[in-house]
Each structure stands twice: as C-alpha cells, then as structure tokens.
C-alpha cells in the first residue's frame, strides 16, 4: 500500500460521501441528530485538503496523520472512532515492514479492534461495527499470500453491504439511537452506511489498480 494509493482512497471516499449527502443525512435525522453527513464530509474534506502533506509521508505515517487529523476535525461519535481506527492501523503498518495483503488485513483488524475498545460496542448493536467486524473477519480469511485482490474486494463490498443492511432490523444499544428502543427498527444505522460506502469506494479503487 503506497501513500499514493492512500491519497487516491481519500479522494474516492470524499467522492462517495459527497454523493450520498441525502442518504447519510436522512439516516441520522431518523435515529440520530442529523449531523453524520456533515461530520463525514468535514472529515473527508480535511484529509483531501492535506494531500500535499500526506504525499511527503511514508504510508504508515500518512495513515497515522489521517487518524490525528480526523480526531481534531470530526468530533461527535464517529470522530474518535474513525481516528482510533487509523491510528491503530498505522501502528501495525509501522511494526511490519512488508506490504502484503496479510499485513493490510491485520492492520484493518487492529483498527476495528481499536473501535471496539474505544466505543465498548460489539456486533449487533446497530453501529458501524456491524459493517466493520464482518468485513474484517472476511478480509482476514481471504488475505492469503496469493489471494486474488479483485475477488477479495468484490467479496468485501458484498460483506459490507450485508452488514449495513443487517442494521436495519436491529434495536440500537450503543450510540445516540440507543434511547429509541423499537423506534430504531426499520432504519439503517448512519455510521454503518458511511462505512459501507467507504469500503466499497476503496475496494473499487483497489480493483482498478
């Protein structure tokens, strides 16, 4: 994973967030406080804004920088969670030297683990973790030394989509929707949706590469 790819991924993420304004906004309006799109947009824009600075960094440093920048930019629940993801991911990348799929999957898993620790949530609580945990598990499973990147990406896009859809029928037990009880049923979790969109965007980028 080159820094170049990281920057391209950031742009792809920005694009998909901006393109899904209505969806993200209405999901958070329905079971949250309506700011998830604004938060994600603010985060995505800032990262793209610092692309020149990122370009001068090693991949692991760039990812860590992204985490730090998100931490001081997004706020809300998604800010510290996504920041923790990238900062934890960067640590794994630093510890290992290679750039194998295995390492990336491990880094992704470390990121997800950091979200779990920070937010004290798990799968089934109607959060972004309902996308991230299945994707991470699937990724670890498929990330063999000679795994087919296109196939892996296509699978992960699918897994993310399923995870996102799975939040629809859940009662929320973490995050802002946790107060709603039954009223949360029937609504997709906004953070799950934005994670699914980001995973899709990055996977598509990786498939093209």
């Amino acid at each position: 994973m080159k820094t170049e790819f990281i920057i391209a991924a950031a742009k792809a993420i920005q694009q998909t967030i901006l393109a899904n304004e209505n969806t993200l906004e209405s999901l958070d309006r329905a079971i949250g406080d309506g700011d998830h799109y604004i938060n994600m947009k603010r985060g995505a824009n800032t990262i793209v804004d610092i692309q020149a600075e990122l370009a001068s960094l090693a991949p692991n440093e760039a990812i860590n920088k992204i985490g730090l920048k998100l931490l001081s930019t997004i706020g809300g629940a998604s800010g510290p969670l996504l920041a923790s993801f990238f900062m934890a991911m960067a640590k794994v990348l630093r510890e290992n030297g290679d750039e194998s799929l295995l390492k990336i999957a491990a880094a992704f898993a470390a990121g997800v683990q950091a979200i779990i620790q920070r937010g004290k949530a798990d799968i089934g609580e109607k959060t972004m973790l309902d996308v991230l945990i299945p994707v991470s598990n699937q990724f670890k499973l498929l990330a063999t030394p000679n795994g087919d990147i296109k196939l892996i990406c296509a699978t992960l896009i699918n897994t993310a989509e399923q995870g996102m859809q799975s939040t629809k029928d859940l009662i929320a037990t973490k995050g802002r929707a946790a107060g709603l009880g039954d009223r949360a049923i029937g609504h997709i979790d906004p953070g799950a949706k934005s994670c699914q969109l980001m995973i899709e965007a990055v996977c598509k980028l990786a498939m093209e590469a």
Binding site: D35, G75, G76, A77, R176
Partner: protein, 333 residues
C-alpha cells in the same frame, strides 16, 4: 430555513466572537482549536471544564465565570468537540489541583473527552451527566443522556471548586447531584441545524414528541397534542417514577424545579408550565424550595421545554445558592 447567519462555515466562529465581545470583561476566546476560558484565571483550585456540541446556548460557554466553569469547549452544532480543544483548554485553565471534566453522556462526548483525559499531562476526573429519564431501559443502552440537569451539576461543582476542594470531592459532588436529578423534554417543533437547512424531524400540527433529546433525537413516543396540564403531568410522572426506580422518595426531600426552554418557547409558556409542575410536585408532598425558569439548555430553535427536578440536601442547596458570575447565570456578589 431562515436564520441570522452569513456563511454556514462561519456560524460558529462568528457567534463565539460575538459572545466573547459581549462578555469581554469576563471571558477570553481562543480560536483554532476553539475554547473559551475565564479572563482572570483562577489560582489553586480544581479547573472545571465542560463542553459539547454548540446549539445549546447558554450551555456551556455561558456558564464560564467565578462560581461555575473555568473553561468550555464548543463543538460544531450538535457535534461533540474534539480532544485537541480539551487539551488546550485544560492547559490554559489548569490551576494546580487537576481538571474536572463535566460531560453530557453521549457516545461522542464521552469518547472525545476520554481521549483528551488519556493524553492529559494533569490529574483529571470526569463527571458524566445523565439526567434524561426519557431513555427508559438503561440496561439496553449505554446509559441516559445528559440534558438540562447539567446546569445544576456545573453550578454546584463550580461552587465547591471555588472553595479549594480537591478533585475527588468535586467529582463526588458532581456525581451526587447528577444521581439526584431527573429531566424529561417535550418538543412541539423540530430544530433546524444550520448546515442541514431543514428540520431534523417532521412533526404534525397536532403532535408532540414526548421525551425528545436536546439534539432533536426522537423520544419515548409521538403523541397527540393536548393541554399543558396533561403534558406537564406526564413529565412530572415520568420524573417521579424514575426517582422511585432509583430508590429515592421524592416527597422526603426539598427540590429544585427547573423549567427549561428549548429555544423558541416564550417565557410566558415556561412560567405556565412551572405553575402546573410546581402544583403537581406539591400534591406529591415535594417541597419546591429552589427554582429556575428560562432558556438554559436549548436545542437551537426548537419549540418545547423540559422539566428537571433535583432532590436537594444541605450541601447541594449551599452550592446552588452560592454566588455565581457568568453570562448565563448570575447571582450573589
């Protein structure tokens, strides 16, 4: 959306600048990252710092001053502030006895303050406020939301800190006040987040949202609009039931009754609500010996109000009554 704003991106900074200019004698504004401190830094006391999404004014910046907060960190509208704000605010306000964060219990606020606390080079503690009894089944959730009762916590803890009390004592008082406080809110209309430009929720002309959150989050249920007495009775009932669940006997205590406007409800209606709520409390044997009526924890331009009851003891009464000198709450000398 019709609001007094210029560019969406500047709403917060322009509003904070106006706040700092209007209260230049008592506060100092720091920008990028944003935080506000007392103009005259206190010495040798626990620094009380709060913060949260903007849009709840006067909470929290309006409570900076002698007898209450040392600093506040305003986030974007309805979005928790970030750890860098808290770190710099703590650095600026630290007065040799540690930092006490007062944080409304929302995932975002909790996590951002938590990360700040982890990075902090000073001793610190956190009081989580969670007075909203609209969120019923807290075993299913990550806890109740912090709403207007936060003002009472900030006032009392601020008062104690002023006496030179240590960090543990301040945290203990904050936790105690929070544990003896319950609130519930009712919305008649939705707020409009400037960046969204449209109402957070749709609500009919004959509906109300019982148990609404201060960010326009859905509450217990959507109900048919009815007369004030019936609405207020449900609020008081919810609060009393909540106290009983927590093994309090409200009628054994004096209480503070706070009727809080969400931003677009006139004082005339808030006093009418007070009238009903106070009567209902009296009927239940609760002696209302302190009161506060007005816009203290708002939700932008939402029409609606919340009822808060805080069960007093001598210590809480003393710290509620002590002098406070802030933009939003002021008494004593």
């Amino acid at each position: 959306m019709k609001k007094f704003i210029n560019h969406l991106d500047n709403v917060l900074v322009e509003s904070l600048s106006g706040f700092a200019a209007a209260h230049a004698d008592s506060v100092t504004l720091h920008l990028d990252p944003h935080f506000i401190t007392r103009k005259n830094k206190a010495v040798n006391k626990v620094a009380i710092i709060s913060g949260g999404g903007s849009g709840h004014e006067p909470l929290h910046s309006g409570y900076i001053g002698v007898g209450m907060l040392d600093a506040a960190c305003p986030g974007h509208v309805f979005t928790s502030p970030t750890p860098d704000q808290m770190l710099l605010a703590a650095e600026a306000a630290h007065a040799d006895k540690g930092i006490l964060f007062i944080v409304k219990n929302y995932a975002g606020d909790v996590m951002n303050f938590e990360m700040a606390a982890e990075m902090l080079p000073f001793e610190s503690a956190t009081v989580l406020t969670s007075d909203d009894c609209a969120v019923i089944n807290s075993t299913y959730t990550n806890g109740r939301r912090g709403v207007a009762g936060t003002v009472i916590v900030e006032k009392c803890v601020g008062s104690l800190a002023e006496t030179g009390a240590n960090l543990q004592a301040c945290k203990a008082l904050g936790d105690k006040v929070n544990s003896r406080t319950a609130s519930i809110g009712v919305a008649l209309t939705s707020c409009i987040v400037p960046a969204a430009g449209r109402p957070t929720f749709n609500i009919d002309d004959n509906e109300l949202e019982m148990g609404v959150g201060i960010h326009g989050e859905p509450g217990r249920r959507r109900e048919t609009m009815r007369e004030a007495d019936a609405i207020v009775r449900d609020c008081v009932d919810a609060i009393l039931t909540d106290f009983k669940t927590r093994n309090f006997e409200p009628n054994k205590h004096e209480a503070l009754l706070l009727i809080n406007g969400f931003g677009a409800t006139p004082l005339m209606e808030l006093y009418l609500i007070y009238n009903t709520a106070a009567k209902l409390c009296k009927q239940q044997g609760i002696q209302i010996s302190r009161s506060l009526v007005g816009n203290y924890t708002t939700a932008l331009d939402m029409a609606g109000a919340s009822v808060t009851l805080c069960l007093l003891d001598d210590e809480i009464k003393q710290h509620w009554d002590s002098p406070v000198h802030t933009a939003g709450l002021r008494w004593g000398s």
